[in-house]
Amino acid sequence: MKLVIKNLKKSFDKKQILKDVNFEFQKGKIYGLLGRNGAGKTTLFNCLSEDIEIDSGQFYIEENQIKEITPEDIGYVLSTPNVPEFLTAREFLKFFIDINQKHLKTNKTIDQWFDLIQIEKEDRDKLLKDYSHGMKNKMQMLVNIIASPSILLLDEPLTSFDVVAQEEMKQMFKNIKKDHIIIFSTHIMELALDLCDEIVVLNKGVLKEIKKEKDIETFKQKIMEALVEE
């Protein structure tokens, strides 16, 4: 399975943010999406998750045959966690399991899901409004994993986690990547190099894959050049 983007264009007013994006993202890989501030990383994610309409081009899933992307195919984790604060964490999970019943690939119980992201037992029946930023982020991540979309868009998802939670999350992404296409947007090059299988740079409205180098410093240099390329 792969996510194919063809000639995707998006402008705001008359400023072209995505000029002509062409790319193929393969299942089983974590892609590190790098770009300077304002390069259009969030715009690209917003286009793929259909939060905004694209001007032209197309994107679809290709697996033996071409398939239009449905809401169930996309999970989008924002850098700022958004959870319904009037629910307890357990109720939030129950709701998500209910509405995703058809797509669930495992029969995990709610507590098993909590265990997966290390939410303590005494916190599971608390209102989400009383959760810390990092815990809310974990919950947001978890419901996107429960929904089991083919494509996971992660916009700076680890910034609010402590170092231990960051390592747990990284491990979790590595564990689930075989069934997903994971696109991970970040400003931290080290994190991208550590976690991601491929590095993709968005510069001047165009996506470009950076071929890996054996020497890490040379690879970093290539990424830097791609980021500042005029």
Partner: protein, 525 residues
């Protein structure tokens, strides 16, 4: 100091011009015509500057004119006396209130926030130069109108000339007192956060301003002159204190907080609404639901927001019941009253369009839905599937209609019953029409607010209202309902027409919601 003033004035003017251009960009059709490089457009900047100067002149003169006209001159017919003393009397007490509530110096405004907090301008130079400008504006702005309206009230010219000086000196005296208070207690007083005692003093002064003339007591010019001399002396001393005060930065650090500047400027700000909505979430650990999916989700929303959803409805119901019983008592005791009520019920049904509009909880409930629920849930793609959107829409519609039907049913029943006991009607259908039309209006407003919310979803991810169309629809709704307030129309025909309209509107808008909401119900980017 002049240099500081000019820099601050240019800064204020720059964002005022940008605000004017931004407002132009929000207008539905115009925004499409205007170019992106709008803020660089020189011609538009010049127009913006001209508008900005006009606004500045208007703030100098128009506000003062409206103040003297509406708060003093227009009040004259209320009182039996109409002597020169009345003008002086009201002016004196309102000036003292103004000195406390409208200091300029302790008003947390955006221009002060930008200049002193963000741009780190010299607080003392900024304050003194702008304060001087503000007092000059007060003096010049008041002068023509105290002279014109004072002479019209047969006051001597010299008194009308010293009146604006009195206003300025009163303001300076109170500001100086506030600075002394800060030096002693290290606490700054923002004029937007007055304490209870100050409000009490303001209330008493207001009572003295309008209450005393009502019982034919007014102060005479001699008392005014004594007050003027005292204020003049205090004011001159106050100028010295203001000039020598050195801790303006510390005082403004307390006053110019983000909340003071942005939240109190508009109490209906979304931040406030969100905080308010969050406050009402209550966890009931014993709550068990057998429902699933969005029905389960909605049931929890209703349960956790019981206070915000039902508190106002309960209060409305109590008030309606009280009015109902009081009306029964008056009707049974007073035949004339009964006749009047009977007549009103047969021609004043249009008035109830406005009442039903005011009672409807649609705006508050949709706000709570967004702030506490959709704001976060709309970021999940799965929540935006047609199945979930429409499933939840149905649940919400049921809740909104049910809640609003509680006061509506009581009103409908009350009106029909009052019509019966106040003398009845030759047309028995009037009883049914009264009841049905009130119920229809209630359902109409419930459908209207929810459909508008789903079709125009006006908020963005930062919970800011971003739809001028939504504001326009809300304004129009108010305008139309207000328009019907004084219309006398036969209950029979108006009732039939409004019922037909409400049913037709509801069917069409529900159809539109079902067709369009899966595409329109999303966070604004």
């Amino acid at each position: 100091m002049l240099k500081t003033f000019l820099i601050s004035y240019k800064l204020k003017n720059a964002y005022r011009v940008n605000s004017i251009i931004y407002s132009l960009k929000q207008l539905p059709i115009i925004k499409k015509i205007l170019p992106v490089s709008l803020y660089q457009n020189k011609a538009l900047k010049i127009i913006g500057n001209i508008i900005s100067i006009i606004i500045e002149i208007l703030t100098i003169f128009l506000g003062k004119f409206l103040y003297i006209f509406f708060c003093i001159v227009a009040m004259f017919p209320v009182f039996k006396i109409n002597t020169p003393n009345l003008f002086i009397h009201i002016f004196l007490f309102l000036t003292i209130i103004g000195a406390i509530m409208n200091t300029y110096m302790f008003n947390p405004t955006k221009d002060k926030y930008y200049a002193m907090i963000i741009m780190k301008m010299d607080a003392k130079k900024y304050t003194l130069s702008n304060y001087l400008y503000s007092m000059l504006k007060t003096l010049i702005g008041f002068m023509p109108f105290t002279i014109i309206f004072g002479l019209m009230s047969k006051l001597p010219l010299w008194i009308t000339i010293i009146m604006p000086v009195f206003v300025v000196m009163a303001k300076i005296s109170y500001s100086a007192y506030t600075l002394i208070y800060f030096q002693k207690h290290k606490k700054a007083k923002s004029e937007n956060n007055l304490n209870k005692i100050t409000w009490l003093i303001v209330g008493i002064l207001l009572l003295l301003a309008y209450g005393l003339p009502y019982i034919n007591i007014t102060i005479n010019p001699i008392i005014f002159i004594i007050c003027f001399i005292i204020t003049l002396i205090l004011g001159i001393y106050g100028i010295k204190i203001i000039k020598n005060f050195s801790k303006y930065r510390q005082i403004y650090k307390q006053i110019l907080t983000y909340e003071n500047v942005y939240v109190t400027e508009n109490n209906k700000s979304t931040k406030k609404i969100k905080e308010n909505a969050e406050k009402h979430i209550k966890l009931d650990k014993n709550f068990i639901s057998n429902k699933k999916g969005f029905a389960y989700f909605h049931e929890l929303f209703v349960k956790r927001h019981a206070q915000i959803l039902t508190a106002a409805v309960k209060k409305q119901a109590i008030v309606i019941i009280i009015i109902f019983f009081l009306s029964i008592i008056f009707i049974s005791k007073n035949k004339e009253f009964a006749g009047t009520i009977n007549g009103l019920l047969l021609i004043y049904l249009p008035y109830f369009l406005f009442i039903m509009y005011m009672l409807n909880r649609g705006t508050t409930i949709t706000e709570a839905m967004f702030m506490n629920c959709d704001h976060s849930m709309l970021t999940y793609r799965i929540y935006r599937t047609p199945k979930v959107i429409l499933g939840l829409f149905k649940q919400r519609l049921k809740t909104l209609i049910t809640l609003n039907l509680i006061p509506a049913t009581l009103i409908g029943f009350t009106l029909s019953f009052l019509l019966y006991i106040s003398g009845g009607t030759n047309e028995p259908l009037n009883y049914i029409i009264l009841f049905i039309s009130i119920i229809s209006m209630s359902i109409f407003f419930s459908v209207h607010y929810l459909v508008m919310y789903y079709l125009l979803q006006p908020y963005n991810a930062n919970t800011e209202m971003k739809s001028s169309t939504y504001s326009l629809v809300q304004g129009l709704t108010y305008f139309v309902c207000y328009f019907f307030i004084d219309k006398k129309l036969s209950t029979f025909y108006f009732g039939l027409a409004i019922t037909f309209f409400c049913i037709t509107y509801s069917i069409i808008s529900l159809y539109l919601a079902y067709k369009k909401a899966p595409k329109t119900f999303k966070l604004r980017v």
